[in-house]
Symmetry: C2
Subunit: 425 residues, 2 copies
Amino acid sequence: MKEKKSFKKIEATLNVMVSASKKASTVLGQLDSAKKDKVLRGVACELKRKTQTLIRENKKDLIQAKKDGLSSAMIDRLMLNKKRINDMAEGILHVAGMKDPIGALVKSWKRPNGLKMSRVTVSLGVILIIYESRPNVTVECATLGFKSSNAVILRGGRESYHSNKALVAIFETILKKNKLPLACVNLVPTTDRRAVDYLLKKDKEINLVIPRGGEKLIEKVVRLSRIPVVKHYKGVCHVYVDQFANLKKALAIALNAKLQRPGVCNAMEALLVHKKVAARFLPMLGEAMEKEGCVLKADKFSIKYLPQAVSAKDCDWGREFLDKVLAVKTVSSIEEAVKHIAQFGSGHTEAIMTENKEAAAIFKQCVDASSVMVNASTRFADGFEYGFGAEIGISTDKIHARGPMGLEGLTSYKYIVEGTGQIRT
Amino acid sequence: MKEKKSFKKIEATLNVMVSASKKASTVLGQLDSAKKDKVLRGVACELKRKTQTLIRENKKDLIQAKKDGLSSAMIDRLMLNKKRINDMAEGILHVAGMKDPIGALVKSWKRPNGLKMSRVTVSLGVILIIYESRPNVTVECATLGFKSSNAVILRGGRESYHSNKALVAIFETILKKNKLPLACVNLVPTTDRRAVDYLLKKDKEINLVIPRGGEKLIEKVVRLSRIPVVKHYKGVCHVYVDQFANLKKALAIALNAKLQRPGVCNAMEALLVHKKVAARFLPMLGEAMEKEGCVLKADKFSIKYLPQAVSAKDCDWGREFLDKVLAVKTVSSIEEAVKHIAQFGSGHTEAIMTENKEAAAIFKQCVDASSVMVNASTRFADGFEYGFGAEIGISTDKIHARGPMGLEGLTSYKYIVEGTGQIRT
């Protein structure tokens, strides 16, 4: 009963925040580029100036995290220091220097009746972003949201609550100084889990939800949300080494795709190799992967060439290991590779290694994934690497945005129709 | 209990349909343009050939509709005759003649590390379309879905079940003849209302839901769906007659926007007029609207010039009359007009009548609607009028697609990354 009553109070606070965000988004929609960039540069400057405050607030989170027994990897992700704060400031300045994604003319045309048509980019409105413990995500999302004229409601992990509060306070200082509504950048003012469930029903005020986290978080959000959700389910990326592959290149790419950062979504989880090159390629792969401490799980045919490997189980195909573990399978044709990817891939990123144009063309055409690569590492599937200058997330969905999402993914458009008195007959 | 058991059986049928659709969408994704257009021309031809069968099946629906006491307007919408069937066939041929929206290069660029990037359009996959009684919508949706390489699951009104079944059978005949999966075009094989609720949870197989119908239908779909929904809530369109308007043009446009088809979403529901021109404009408007049998609901100031009008109530602002009823209000400035529209508009279509460039610029910039018009009738907000050649619906949302949606709205994209062995460092 008491809990119920206390949530009523939180509800009231959330309602105020959501309405204020919607109002702020209208102001943001009209803001000119120069003003937006001035604010962002101000935030970057203030961030550096407040380094000590930030480190002090961050310490509160670190102390709690140690008490709660978080892993040292988690604690490292949570930690702010001078270098990381400087990097955040640099990131903001980089975004400030980018082209304004709002107000851009996408295309224009004329109708036979003389109507002049144009399609112009506009902001989405209010975006709710739900993420886990890294505090730099708070700054990234607030920056990209502001640059794209969207109000953001940020819900970081409870582990980083004090750090996030201090970071958002810096945005607030600069917003106030520039006479802009503080509700341009909002932090959900509670760690109560029910707050998110409540916000996910606010489809009249919030235009988009971006959950950045594990599969379970995203599934929960999809289940509860009435607001459109940018989905990023899994990254089960394959590298297919074709019979016409340059095996030296293929080996370098396999090592890079698996090992450069095994815990991220664009790392390779399974390698498919054409039977005709298996005898030459797999021993090299086995040796190199073993040297790097990578466990190989091989199918019946490929295990002959991989003395280091264990037998793959059925559940290893389509599995996101996020670790130094790789499934290896031989295939008899490119068609079999494409079929395997269709069945077990997650639509994130798939790569072929081949020097044969026809094989490359088949793969590019037939593989249904947000990124399809030819002779390049899956690790390139990333907004920065694609030249978007920034990344708010990667969509494994096909609606609104697919693949790495930069500022463009945070925009919508409107049609402008200019006439001289035309009526419809 | 019995009902529960019988729905288990329906569930099984729906599961088969959904899986088959997903498989069919993969085949469709690889189909070349010529083959797609050949199939569509075949359907157009078969449609004409089967005119008598269609009229016979349609009669079953008409008889039931009369028994159920449907209004004569509803019965007219439901009715198929030779002319309407010919029009459908013409519509299909028109779409067959359009450019393939799939496989188009949207843009390409090169990265400093030599990676060649391109963004290419792809189909969405499986689309569920829920609509009401007009059978021609069945043909439109199946045609646009097929042209854009998407499998469609159609759920028409129960009133037109026999007609829809006969129309889908024509697609099936031609699909079979062309050795394509019948599941490219599916009709939900039951009028049981629970079928839709069940399908809306199939977010692993269905990529998008397009409900075409009233606000209640859309709200229900949004509440129940785990699949992204194209929302078309309401069309509360305003025409603002600025102090710098050409009043003769403004009158013609007001009449057209209100009366050409009062029951549709892009009809004007409220007229705002600048005080400075009210005394000249409103008497003309009142007289002309009265002659056409249109009821005027006026605010305190404008009623002075509109002896025909009744007093507007608070609930008349933002109301979708869908009838020969118009709310009229005077405003003191363009800012007041913009503010009124922000409060009461539905984000569909808003128009300004003005000969002043600055006023037009303010309106275009500040009004947040899918279509913003200058000196043109709101009735133009339509995929055909915009030159899209076809329309699957109009989105009042900002996610994925906004405003009239043609074939382009039924596509997604993928990134193709072509390298020469690049790895990420």
